[in-house]
Symmetry: C2
Subunit: 516 residues, 2 copies
C-alpha cells in the first residue's frame, strides 16, 4: 500500500506542531520565569509565531496536501487496503483537519497578529491591575480583546451566535440552549443547597499556614504517590496554576502558594495533575499522533472533568484524608485525624475566589462568569460596567461581596488573554466527572471492591493506579474521535446530565454534617 | 531624508531576531526546566528554527534588502544627510551584515539542520555520559559533531585554518599565530608560578559546606548589592552556569550548587552577572539596535573579560571579602574575618575542574583545551584518544590526574554542543580584564580615589556602581563597532598583552603569601 500523500501531510502537521509547541514553551516561560519587563518582546515573539502558524494552517499548500491525502485515502479504502480502525481514524482526522482549515481560511491574518499582541498586552496589564487591585488599568486591554474577539466571530461566520462561535475551540458543538438544559437544574438547586449548608455551619474556622518549602514537599509527595515520572514532567510556580504539554514526552504543570490557605497549593497540584494525566494518556504516546487531531484532547470540559476528578473525587475524599493526614500532621499542620483533614479540605463555605471555592459554590462562580461573558459579547454589557455587575451578581447568588477588584473581576486569567467561552467547561467538567465516577464505581465493584464506596476503597489502600487504569482505558485514549458528550454517553450509557453531580453533592453534605 | 530601505531592512532583522531569541528561549528552558525525555522533541524544534533562521539569513530577499539599504545609504551619505556618527554606525552595520550573509550563503541548509540535531543529541548524550562518568556514551555524538564542524569549515571556505574558521563567531579575526604570541608567555610563566605556590601552600584545607537555600540567599544578596533590577532579570539553576539575553529587557542567568564547594555557586553567580551586565549595557537599550550587529557583543573574549572581572577582580578581591565576610559568618560558614573569606575565595591550588579553578591554574586548563581542539580538528587526534590525551596533559601541566571522565574530558558543556574555538576566549578574557583594570584604576585615581588600590577602595565602600559606570561608558556600549583587540587598544592605549595579567597574578600571590 502506498501512503505517500498521507506521509507528506503527516510531515507537514509535525512541523506545524513543532512550531505550535514552541509557542506553548514561550507561554510556559512567560508565566513561570520571564521577568515582567520581558513581556513586550515576548508579545512580539508570540504574535510572530501565531502569524506563522496561521499561515501554515490556512495556506494553499496545506489545502493541497489535505486534498491529496483525502483522495489517496478514498482510493485505499475502496481497494480494501485499510482495516476498519484505520478507516475510522483517518476519516475522523481528515474531517477535523478540514473543519479547522475552513475556520483558519476565514480569518484575516492581520487579525490573528492583532489578537496575539492584544493577549500579551492584556496579560501584562491584568497583572499590573491585580497588583494594585484596580480594574481601570486593565480596562483598555479588555475592551480591545472583546472587540477583536467579536471581529473574529464575525469573520468565522458560523451558524452560531458570537459567544458560541468563540466557545467552539474549547467545547466543540456546544450551544447556549444545551447549556441552559444542563445548567438550569443547577441554577435552581445549588442556591438551595447553599442555604442548607449555611445552617449546618460546615466551614472550618481554623487559621493556620505552612511554610512554602513544606507545602512544596507535600505536593512532591502527592505526585510521587500518584506515580509521577520525573523524566517526562516538570512542576513549577506561576501566578495562575496551569498545565501544558510541550512535547510528546514533556509535560509541565504549575501551582502556587497562597498565604493563609495552606491547602490551596496542594489542591491546585492535584487539579493540574489531573489535566496532565489526561494529556499523558492521549493516543500520541502509542500512535505517533502528537501532530494529528486524534492525538489531542477532545474538549476543555473533558479536560476539566479529569482535573476536577483528581482534585475533588480523590484529594478531597474522606478516604484520601484518612490515608494522608499523618503527613500533614508531621508537616506541622494542626491536623490530628483523617476527619480533621477532610473537613479542612471541604469547608463548604461560599467565598469570593473561584479557584479556592468549595465544590458547591464553584458552580455559582461559573454561572456568574458564563452569564457575564454572554452579556459582554452579545447583550451589550459594557466593559466599564463589569466590576459593578460582577459584584452585584456575587451578592445576589453567593451572598458575598468583593471588597475590591482583586477579589472580584480581576481574579481569573482567562479574559486577560481574551479567552471567552471557556468558563462553562469547568462546570461541565464537574458534571462529567460525577457521571464518570458512577460508571467507574460500577466497574470497580465488578472487580470485587467494596460495594458501598469502591473508589474510596482504592484510595484508602493507595491503589489509585486502579483508578488511573480505568481512565487510561475508558477516557484518555479517545482524543477527538468523539466530542465530550458523545464520550460520556459511550462510557456511561446515558446522555450527560446534572443529576449525578447534584446527588454526589447532596451525599457529601450529608456525610460532612454527620461527621461534624 | 527618506530611509525606506533602511527601515525595511530593520524590520526584517527584527523578525530574524525575534526568531533567534525564541531559539535562545528554548535553549534556556532546555537547560533549566525541561524534563530529560523532552530532549528529542526539543532537538527537532531547535533544528527547525535553525533551518528557518539560516533561510532568513541567506535568502535572496534578505540579499536584496541589504543591497537596497546599501545603495540608499551611499546616496544619503553623498547628499550629506547623515552625521558622522550615523555614517560610521551604518557602514559598520552594513559591513558586518554582508560578511555574515556571505558566510550563511556558503552553508548547505541541510548541514545547518544536521548540526542543530547533532547539538541536541550531543547535549543529551553528554549529560548521560556525565551521570555515569563514561566517555564512551558521548563518543559517537562527539565524533559526529567533529565531522559536521569540519564540513562546516570546508563549506565556509575562508582563508583560514579549520579551527580558525570555527573560532570566528566567538572571536572575530583571531588567528592561531596571534594566539601563540599572546599565550606563549603564559605557557612559560604559569607553570613557574604554579611551582612557586606549591611551595607556599596557599590552598586552604578547610572542609565545610552551606545548605542550598543559604547559598541561594547569599547569591541574591550579592546581586541586589550589585544593583540587580528584578524587572528585567531572572536567576535560575542549570547543570552548567550560563547567561543569555532573551529580549531587549529580558536577561537570564543561571548558577549551580556544587556539594562540598560552598563558594562555587556564589562565584558562578558573580561570573554570570558580569556577562549579563555587558549585555545589559549594549547599545540596543538606547538605539533600538537589538536586531543590528552594533547592538551585539563584539566577541566572547570581551564577554569573558566582563564576567571574569566581576568574579575575580571584584568578588575574589581582598576588599570584597572585608566587606562581605560577616554575611558568610551569619550564614553559618566558619569565617571569622575578611582574611578568612579571602583565602577561601583564593585557594591557589591546582585542581581538575576548570570552572572551580583558581585564577592561576585556570590558564593551564584553557591551554590544554585549546591544544586538544586544534589537534582534534586539524592534527588527526581521534575522538577515541581524547580521554587519555586529556589525562596525560593534565598530569604534565598541572600535576593532577582525573580519576574518571566526569572529572576529566566530560566536565565542560562546550564540545557537547559542537562549540570548537570558544575556549581561548576565556583566557583572552583574563588578559583583557587585567588590562582594562589597569586603565580603570588610573581613571579612578584621577577621580581622587586611593592611589594604591582605587578599585579596592570602591569595593570596600560598596561603591561598585562607580566601577560599573566606567564599564558602561568605556566598554559596554561599543558592541561590534570594533573587535576585542581594537577596543583594548582604544581604551588602554596599548595592544593586548599578557603582561598586566601576569603582573596581577604575581602581586596577588605575594599578597596572599604575606597574609597567610
Amino acid at each position: 500500500m502506498s501512503a505517500l500523500a498521507w506521509q507528506r501531510l503527516g510531515d507537514y502537521l509535525r512541523e506545524t506542531q513543532l512550531l505550535g509547541s514552541i509557542h506553548s514553551t514561550l507561554y510556559w516561560d512567560q508565566n513561570t520565569r520571564m521577568p515582567p519587563e520581558g513581556s513586550s518582546w515576548r508579545g512580539e515573539q508570540l504574535s510572530l509565531l501565531a502569524k506563522i502558524l496561521h499561515g501554515r494552517q490556512s495556506n494553499k499548500h496545506f489545502e493541497t496536501l489535505l486534498e491529496r491525502a483525502k483522495i489517496e485515502f478514498e482510493h485505499s479504502r475502496k481497494e480494501g487496503e485499510l482495516d476498519q480502525e484505520q478507516v475510522l481514524a483517518r476519516s475522523k482526522n481528515l474531517e477535523l483537519l478540514e473543519q479547522e482549515l475552513i475556520r483558519q481560511k476565514r480569518l484575516d491574518p492581520e487579525l490573528i497578529g492583532q489578537i496575539a499582541s492584544a493577549k500579551a498586552y492584556g496579560y501584562n496589564l491584568w497583572q499590573q491591575a491585580r497588583a494594585s487591585s484596580d480594574f481601570s488599568i486593565f480596562l483598555p486591554a479588555l475592551k480591545r480583546l472583546v472587540s477583536l474577539r467579536k471581529e473574529q466571530a464575525r469573520q468565522l461566520n458560523e451558524p452560531r451566535s458570537c459567544w458560541e462561535t468563540l466557545a467552539q475551540p474549547f467545547e466543540p458543538d456546544l450551544t447556549k440552549s444545551r447549556l441552559k438544559e444542563l445548567f438550569d437544574p443547577l441554577r435552581k438547586r445549588l442556591p438551595e443547597l447553599l442555604e442548607k449548608i449555611r445552617d449546618l455551619e460546615l466551614g472550618t474556622n481554623s487559621s493556620w499556614d505552612l511554610p512554602e518549602s513544606i507545602q512544596q514537599e507535600l505536593c512532591d509527595r502527592l505526585l510521587n504517590d500518584w506515580g509521577r515520572d520525573h523524566s517526562i514532567t516538570c512542576l513549577a510556580r506561576s501566578p495562575h496554576p496551569f498545565s501544558t504539554t510541550l512535547g510528546p514526552k514533556d509535560f509541565r504543570l504549575t501551582t502556587r502558594v497562597v498565604p493563609g490557605q495552606p491547602l490551596s497549593c496542594f489542591l491546585s497540584t492535584a487539579h493540574e495533575w489531573g489535566h496532565s494525566l489526561y494529556e499523558q494518556g492521549l493516543l500520541f504516546q502509542t500512535h505517533q499522533w502528537f501532530a494529528w487531531p486524534l492525538g489531542q484532547a477532545t474538549s476543555m470540559a473533558l479536560h476539566e472533568s479529569q482535573s476536577l476528578f483528581w482534585e475533588n473525587r480523590i484529594a478531597r475524599s474522606r478516604a484520601f484524608s484518612e490515608r494522608f493526614w499523618p503527613f500533614f500532621e508531621k508537616a506541622g499542620a494542626p491536623i490530628k485525624s483523617g476527619s480533621d483533614l477532610w473537613h479542612e479540605m471541604n469547608p463548604l463555605k461560599p467565598s469570593l475566589i473561584r479557584v479556592e471555592a468549595d465544590e458547591l459554590s464553584y458552580g455559582i462562580h461559573i454561572l456568574i462568569r458564563t452569564d457575564l461573558e454572554i452579556s459582554l459579547l452579545e447583550e451589550g454589557l459594557s466593559v466599564e460596567e463589569l466590576p459593578s455587575e460582577w459584584n452585584r451578581r456575587y451578592k445576589d447568588l453567593l451572598g458575598v461581596v468583593p471588597a475590591n477588584d482583586y477579589e472580584g473581576c480581576l481574579q481569573d486569567v482567562h479574559w486577560s488573554e481574551g479567552q471567552f467561552g471557556y468558563f462553562p467547561s469547568y462546570l461541565l467538567g464537574h458534571l462529567i466527572s460525577a457521571q464518570f465516577s458512577e460508571a467507574m464505581a460500577k466497574e470497580l465493584m465488578n472487580l470485587g471492591l467494596d460495594q458501598d464506596d469502591p473508589i474510596g476503597t482504592c484510595i484508602l489502600n493507595g491503589k489509585e493506579s486502579m483508578i488511573l487504569s480505568w481512565l487510561r482505558k475508558e477516557i484518555h485514549p479517545h482524543g477527538r474521535q468523539m466530542n465530550a458528550e458523545a464520550l460520556v454517553e459511550k462510557v456511561t450509557g446515558s446522555p450527560l446530565s446534572s443529576k449525578p453531580f447534584l446527588s454526589y453533592l447532596e451525599k457529601k453534605i450529608e456525610m460532612l454534617s454527620i461527621d461534624s
